[in-house]
Symmetry: none
Subunit: 216 residues, 4 copies
DNA sequence: CATGAATGAGCTTTCATTCAT
DNA sequence: GATGAATGAAAGCTCATTCAT
């Protein structure tokens, strides 16, 4: 027999979980209605406490958004960029590893939701976009570009433009995400980000194959 | 007895031009500050008349947004899908034509801006995203998918998954757009959407080349 | 029969009187309950329109306070300081004129109320106190001090400290005001600021009389 | 079984000191930022304990203000009015004694600060001003008035209006205080309330000298 | 006793929308 | 048709007060 009251206690003390509860509630609301149309009061209610409590943990509504981004972005960034530095040789195995890491990160629906919010709010919230640019894009794009450049230089891959080709590497993943999250257009059976990545890798790897000279 | 001033005003905008002027003003403001942070008054001022006049032509702020999307989306859709229906043969020339048409459409900064606004406001205004889905995506994706499927069936291209490969076809363009518009990450010298497309086509076409299993 | 509705029109247009109506309402409320405990909504209601209308004419609650001070302070300042510059001779007639001007200004209950509000809000609202200091005190005190100093130098009055004596000149008026407005302590029959000034002048003039040397 | 820690805490403030610590903290904050802009939390923090503890000793924020006034006002009142009752003769020595006592009381910066707070909060907290009126003004003014009246009656001083002259006696001290505390206008070298009083007494005593209409 | 997490009423301010002129 | 003054329902945020621990 449980000595605990059957109803939740009105006050839970010293809850270090609070900030995360706020972020979770905010995330679901921001996803549903967008940041601008979500009120702090709604966030509080969904998290299960009152407006004032939110402000105990976050200085402003915008700070909630930043907290959300920070919580999500760092892990993504960590996971993805370790293998790429100073690699020499055929870039393809590294690209495969990188894209699969992205697919895995984006398998988490919270991560996906935060990425979408970043894309949506970045133009109006400069520090959000700066944060994401610094932690993710500013590292991923140069890394892929450099990887491709040395692959071209070493004759491992076709002589494409490395900077533009970086978009061909990453773009399909982003596009797939957008179609799914914004327009609800996704393959039967769900997102299937890993299948997307594998199909994309097949195409990409064949595309990158150095020209052996003898095509009709 | 003519109570009217004998001199006609030198410039009198025709009333029919009004809605477009409102939409232009709204577009530039929505791009600068986002939909939510733009006031109807600002739109009116920038368009050169007063708040009340805006409401003469648009029933609500959201109607302006819808008008904006409608005005832009229709032409895009028209331009892009004519060649693709019931085509038989190697899909690559058609894909090239299609992607170049997209590049051209997106060369117009107004078009780009509207697309970005759709991405940003989609969760808040579902009818906006529905409009875009119906007019553009719901036609482009099936068309590309069908095109690829018959190419695979006819042995013109490698045996990839047509539905997923459609993302590999379109994704890089979307990704390039996002990087440029949201994060201001773009090649030196500007967007260069056509260079992106040409580089992408090179890669894509090589990637789609059927595996001949051993060259000539 | 009057075609006009017997009830006041809901919308009175282009009312240039609005700012003054707001200031009058604000003044009475600030006097009753203090600035901090008065809400903008109360000001609006008392002025006879809605909250939003107040913000059509004043950018913020604090701007109302500043408007109030500005409206009152300038006239006071103008009225009082003309005669005092570069005067040579017995200061007493000039002091009499000056104090009577003050008494007259403070005979207006709005002026009194604003002065009280300045005294009350100045410590917390630095620009208020700066405004009053610059327009009134920064001119009145040096003027009186200089007037007394030359009176002492010319042997017209007793050898007192001019700077401190300026407080003896002005203090009774201020004190009388405070007692009346804050503590409701006033002579039977009302404020009687002019009687106060006349009594004060009698005392002050006798006090300033140069010592003729022959006292017991 | 002693559950208490065996080592006594080195410094344990006696609980009786708490209210005074709260009042001191409140006084400094109210002086800095005004009553309305000071939060109970700030008071608690500055006093060195937590918000809840403040409410152990004071029922409300306003009760702190009242406590502050009460603590200060009583001693002033006691100090000042002993000599004045039923005095017969030339009022001037008594006035000197009284004003010097006031100067001494106001030499204490805490006392000055409380007086200023009373002036500022009076309209919002009528019981505050009532307290001060009852304890100080309601006694001081009649006392001074009566003293002057019997001085006039006895021919010791000029035939002025006793009630209004009471303002001439006290006003300079009040004015000096206001100039210094509200507008930071004070003589070089600080407040110098005693110099102000001495200068004022010189002037006042000469002013009160009965008109002998022709020297000895 | 002491704490500080939690509350929610209430504040200032904004702005989409209306409508008399 | 145009205008812009007026509205008032929110929104973000603060803070006096309470009370479980």
């Amino acid at each position: 027999m449980n000595t605990k009251s059957p109803t939740e206690p009105k006050f839970r003390r010293r809850a270090e979980a609070r900030p995360d509860e706020v972020l979770d509630a905010a995330l679901s609301l921001f996803t549903e209605k967008g940041y601008a149309r979500t009120t702090v009061d709604q966030v509080a209610k969904r998290a299960g406490f009152s407006k004032g409590t939110v402000y105990l943990y976050f200085a402003s509504k915008e700070a909630i958004l930043e907290g959300l981004v920070q919580r999500t972005v760092e892990p993504i960034a960590e996971a993805a960029f370790e293998t790429m530095t100073d690699y020499r040789g055929d870039p393809r195995p590294v690209l495969a590893q990188f894209l699969r890491a992205m697919a895995q990160a984006l398998a988490d629906s919270k991560t996906r939701a935060v990425v979408m919010i970043i894309l949506q709010e970045a133009p109006a919230a400069p520090n959000i976009s700066a944060l994401f640019r610094k932690a993710v894009l500013g590292r991923a794009l140069p890394a892929v570009t450099a990887l491709l450049a040395q692959g071209v230089a070493g004759g491992h891959i076709r002589a494409i433009d490395p900077e533009l080709t970086a978009r061909s590497v990453l773009g399909p993943v982003i596009g797939h995400l957008l179609l799914s999250e914004i327009f609800r257009i996704r393959p039967e059976g769900g997102l299937q980000m890993d299948r997307l990545v594998e199909n994309h890798l097949t195409l990409l790897f064949a595309g990158l194959e150095p020209d052996t000279g003898g095509a009709p």
